[in-house]
Symmetry: C2
Subunit: 322 residues, 2 copies
């Protein structure tokens, strides 16, 4: 069992690598090798099997083919230009999120081994005029370039899978919170930083009002779901290989109160409320209520409360027993 993680330097890629190292197996087989690839060399991860870190650019088709010379059995494609940057730099977003993804798909197809390919899509594929809540059969109607590029990639992942070129599985990630690390150019970045920074004694800015509602999943459950995605039998997916992951609808205000219950008043006082109309124009186009029926039926996992998400961050990322 060889595993390749493209985007292996990102926070999900690193957490996934550590989770694979802790399990030692995937799809019932011992992992023989793990390759972490990213634009900049990923941090190494200690594991009971060899881990290689490589630099690779998904916009280069030849590099993608070279990256798969070890004939991975499972490929995770997590690399992307995030929503805010794809909106500001349209051509970069197209080149990475669409054409780069096609390079990954074609390299996996060229193996001729029908590898499992897990692709992270996003709930940014939803928006606009569609009934509430989002169901498994709801139109993808993205209102951002990031979402449009993910939606186009999903159509291709389904077709490459139907043709037997690879065994694709696409997960529309909720907004992952509380994400560790630094703020990034995702429009959703504040939905982690208003908790992450205050929990570490720093101020953070919330650009939306407390009643803004959205759809969330913790990093811990997201990683569990990335592993589940690779392990579900191919025939269980039916006629669509992409689905919205489970998550929970929370208002920002509810989440702030959850942080207060876990960590007290001080972190809450470190949030500055400064509305940002430009950012709101992106995030208000997203959807906050879902019925992830198929994902729950297939065994994907959800959080129980946002208090848990706060505790997971303290335990997993700050090493504070909560």
């Amino acid at each position: 069992m060889n595993v390749l993680i493209i985007g292996g330097g990102g926070f999900l890629g690193q957490k996934l690598a550590k989770a694979l190292a802790a399990r030692g197996t995937l799809r019932g087989q011992p992992i023989r090798k793990l390759i972490l690839a990213d634009l900049a060399a990923p941090a190494d991860v200690s594991a009971p099997f060899p881990v290689e870190t490589r630099t690779a650019d998904i916009t280069d088709a030849a590099q993608m083919r070279a990256l798969m010379q070890d004939r991975p059995d499972v490929i995770y494609h997590l690399a992307a230009i995030v929503s805010g940057q794809a909106e500001a730099e349209f051509d970069l977003g197209m080149n990475v999120n669409l054409f780069g993804t096609i390079n990954v798909f074609e390299a996996a197809r060229a193996l001729g081994t029908n590898p499992v390919l897990v692709f992270t899509s996003s709930i940014a594929v939803y928006g606009g005029e569609a009934p509430d809540p989002i169901e498994d059969w709801t139109l993808l109607n993205p209102q951002t370039s990031y979402g449009a590029q993910k939606a186009a990639a999903e159509a291709l992942l389904n077709d490459f899978s139907r043709k037997g070129f690879f065994d694709g599985r696409g997960l529309r990630l909720p907004t992952i919170s509380i994400r560790p690390g630094k703020p990034n150019k995702a429009a959703s970045s504040f939905m982690s930083s208003i908790f992450r920074e205050p929990l570490q004694g720093q101020e953070a800015v919330c650009p939306v009002s407390p009643d803004y509602e959205h759809w969330f999943l913790s990093p811990r459950r997201c990683i569990e779901n990335l592993i589940i995605a690779a392990e579900i039998p191919a025939d269980a997916w039916g006629q669509n290989r992409c689905l919205a992951l489970p998550g929970r609808t929370h208002s920002i205000g509810e989440m702030v109160e959850a942080m207060r219950r876990v960590a007290g008043d001080e972190p809450v006082a470190r949030i500055r409320w400064e509305p940002d109309p430009e950012l709101q124009s992106i995030v208000m186009g997203w959807r906050g209520r879902f019925n992830p029926t198929k994902a729950l039926r297939l065994g994907f996992k959800n959080d129980d409360s946002f208090e848990d998400n706060v505790r997971y961050f303290l335990e997993d990322d700050l090493n504070i027993p909560a």
Copy 2:
């Protein structure tokens, strides 16, 4: 008002050119020039304005930019590799239906004039597990490569329009019947030939049973709708620039009886019923029942009966007053 029809040699392109010639105007302005472009030189069309015919390959980005040197105000992009061929020749379908379409989109964007761009998608974008009937907000879930390539292109058309690169309008065409000309490699080709050939004294093969139900529109209404699509104000489209056109659900058996009522028993006797499992595997994945609410609200037109479709074919294509 300069108009460009890419795919101007096809049957829809030719009928559209003739309809524009008959009107002389589009979007309330006199047409100054019409360019018909296709892989092979399109047949000329006589019109009260200059008509140019050109050969051009949409898989060549430079050719698409050159084709738009006259700065068309309205671009029709009708060119495609049809369903059966895109299934058999996957890479050709990707190159034309996806990458070629992106070349058209990028060339239109490069004009910097926000031209109207009418794109023919297809009801082949629907399929698989989705409730019946298809609604405006139903998931695109194609079960063919042709449908997947159209679905991916739709996501991009919406996003290029949202970004103001062009003013896109995507129409998911029902199966157009009765189509003139010769059979082609579309899996739906028989849905015209079982009427067209018998009405001209020739035998034709029906590869599905009489109870097969599908979604149909006549060429005459389709052309009217292509013109309506260009004329609807941009702001009437809302947050999605693509929609399923009106049509009618008919079983093959009902359509055959409609032909009998218009043209008597003889054409019906010329249909040979020979089931084709491979073709059925494509067409049974399509959907036959739709609620085209948005299209009807925007003023798109429907047929009144399949008898009319038979009469339109006799009048428009065989010059027989019906």
